[in-house]
């Protein structure tokens, strides 16, 4: 049985700032439910002795020495910015939602 319904998808879409039509929600909630259920089968197979795995490759402690490496030049950093001003990324007004 599906653990994901239409309202879950609508909420996730809102959190991810994805604008979805009713038709999108109908279609995707069906598709996503199939995926979630398929993944959930793994939990049925794994016994109590198998811990939850976030990193399948048994490696740890891959660290970097604290040594400065060259950064990008400001122009390069801003090259892909839709808009820039005074060496900074220019972004639209932030808060309607937070005010």
């Amino acid at each position: 049985m599906s653990s994901l319904d239409r309202s879950d998808v609508a909420r996730l879409a809102a959190l991810a700032r994805i604008d979805m039509s009713d038709a999108d929600l109908d279609r995707l909630s069906g598709q996503l439910a199939v995926i979630v259920d398929a993944v959930a089968k793994v939990a049925e197979v794994a016994g109590e002795d198998v811990p939850a795995t976030s990193h399948p490759i048994p490696m740890a402690n891959i660290h970097r020495e604290d040594v400065v490496r060259p950064s990008l030049a400001q122009d390069d950093a801003l090259a892909a910015a839709p808009d820039a001003e005074e060496g900074r990324f220019r972004v639209p007004q932030i808060l309607g939602e937070e005010a």
Binding site: R11, L12, L15, R17, S54, H55, I57, M59, A60, N61, I62, H63, R64, E65, D66, V67, V68, R69, P70, S71, L72, A73, Q74, A77, L78, A80, E85, E86, G87, R88, F89, R90, V91, P92, Q93, I94, L95, E97, E98, A99
Partner: protein, 505 residues
């Protein structure tokens, strides 16, 4: 609605609070890339594909940052998890380049510690620490248009130099039972954290520059009725006041929030669980996001980074580097140095404790070290508008300078001139004394000549001294010091004058 004072609020209600402190680490590079971690550079010049969140860029953990986080955890009495991992905290904000922050969620590196906090009157309060976890800082927004604040701005400009700078966030468990001392405890707790990160040398601990920032959570609950345990009374709804960035502001934020919430509750209105913004200019808070709506960060394990599994040997090695608790160190040094409480408080407030300790370690007496750092050097620092540790002079140089005075090579006045040279970058005290020719004139014949000339200019002085008015010699000492441009040993000059008068000193 009646407006309550903090004191009235504390009479009526039982406060519960918790504090989140963000400590910016002073590593050379950022948390997950090799860009420089330095304050004040031109915007977007310390950025790279990793900290700009460009597609395909892969983060790699800074080992020094992990070390600093573990040391901080140990200093806070935390356990160090054998395997911890990073997590993505997902939210949208322009200062967050990737649309997620790399943080730690269910497996923080440091957990369950406790910290003794010493209040001004010596009372010790133990604060339980829930966790201390690693994460990265966000960039800096500048709001353009409107009043310059976030509300009403036309657009914003973003500088990502700070994005990716390593942070440790320390979270307390709820602190209860402090009553009217809540504000004081909150302040003392953050001050203690600041002192510890400085003593560890992992952060410059400057609240005014944002390298230590605090969020203050506060709620009020009814006082227990007779026969009921206060612990049995459920917590009230809390507010979280963000970015309270000075010790004084912490106290004030607690005062304001307690009074605000008490006023609401007494009027029968609910306290809303929400984030609030702190306003330094008015010492007040205003609502930000409402927590229940906004806070769904969909944490999940960061797939681009591998777990952190510090060996037990490394953790024990780091445990050996943890300095004494700052309050205990202060008490020990105050005793050893024989300073009064007031003197010690001034020394701590002036950021001179470590400097004086190092000066004493380099051979000066505590009183002499205090005299230099709290006197002449404080005056210079004040003139230059810098803190004492920023002055271009080392404790070893101050000890050397005092050594020259103690050996009689220079007097206090010459020592101040020598110090001026040291601060001007002319070399060590000995070098400045040599190059500026500052040595005390100890050649008796030169001093006798100068004394005789001064006596000739003020012929009545000898008679006065012979009459028993020995203090009259002061005028001649002054004249000789002037004639030798301060380079005479005043004690020796006085002896010569008394000899001339036929009086033994």
């Amino acid at each position: 609605m009646t407006t309550m004072t903090y004191e009235q609020a504390m009479e009526e209600f039982d406060p519960v609070f918790g504090i989140e402190v963000h400590v910016e680490l002073n590593t050379a590079t950022k948390m997950f890339c090799g860009c420089a971690n330095e304050f004040g550079a031109e915007p977007n010049t310390q950025v790279c594909p990793v900290c700009l969140g460009l597609p395909g860029a892969m983060p790699v953990t800074n080992e020094k940052a992990v070390e600093s986080a573990i040391r901080l955890g140990l200093a806070l009495g935390c356990s160090i998890r054998e395997s911890s991992r990073f997590a993505r905290k997902n939210y949208f904000y322009p200062d967050l380049s990737k649309d997620y922050q790399i943080s730690q969620y269910d497996e923080p590196t440091c957990y369950e510690g406790s910290l003794d906090v010493v209040l001004d009157d010596g009372t010790v309060v133990t604060v339980e620490i829930e966790r201390a976890h690693m994460e990265e800082d966000a960039g800096k927004n500048t709001h353009v248009g409107g009043s310059g604040g976030i509300q009403g701005a036309d657009y914003s400009l973003v500088d990502y130099n700070r994005g990716g700078v390593p942070l440790v966030e320390i979270v307390t468990k709820p602190i209860t039972g402090m009553g009217a001392r809540t504000a004081e405890v909150a302040r003392a707790y953050v001050a203690t954290i600041r002192d510890i990160v400085r003593a560890l040398g992992i952060s410059d601990g400057r609240m005014e520059q944002g390298s230590v920032r605090a969020d203050v959570n506060l709620s009020l609950r009814p006082k227990a009725v007779a026969g009921e345990s206060q612990d049995a009374v459920p917590f009230g709804k809390r507010s979280e006041t963000k970015n309270v960035n000075s010790l004084r502001a912490i106290e004030r934020a607690v005062h304001f929030e307690a009074a605000r919430q008490a006023s609401l509750l007494l009027a029968g209105q609910p306290v809303v669980q929400e984030t609030r913004h702190w306003h330094e200019d008015t010492s007040s808070t205003t609502p930000g996001r409402s927590k229940e709506e906004a806070e769904d960060y969909r944490y999940f394990p960061e797939p681009d980074l591998l777990p952190v599994q510090p060996s037990r040997e490394w953790v024990e090695e780091l445990r050996g580097t943890i300095p004494e608790h700052p309050a205990k160190m202060r008490a020990r040094l105050r005793e050893a140095w024989g300073f009064s409480d007031l003197e010690m408080r001034d020394v701590v407030a002036a950021d001179a404790l470590v400097l004086i300790e190092s000066t004493v370690a380099a051979g000066a007496s505590a009183q002499a070290a205090r005299k230099w750092w709290m006197g002449e050097l404080s005056r210079v620092a004040n003139d230059r508008e810098v803190s004492l540790p920023e002055l271009p002079v080392t404790p070893a140089a101050i000890a050397e300078l005092q050594g020259l005075v103690d050996d009689g090579k220079i007097n206090d006045k010459l020592a101040r001139q020598a110090l001026e040279g040291v601060l001007a970058g002319e070399g060590s005290p000995s070098e400045v004394v040599a190059s500026r020719g500052l040595a005390v004139v100890s050649d008796d014949s030169a001093l006798e000549k100068a004394v005789d000339e001064a006596l000739a200019a003020q012929p009545d002085v000898l008679a006065k001294i012979q009459d028993g008015k020995v203090q009259a010699a002061g005028a001649i000492v002054g004249a000789v010091m002037k004639a030798t441009r301060g380079q005479a040993d005043a004690g020796r000059v006085r002896e010569i004058i008394l000899q001339r008068a036929g009086v033994e000193g």
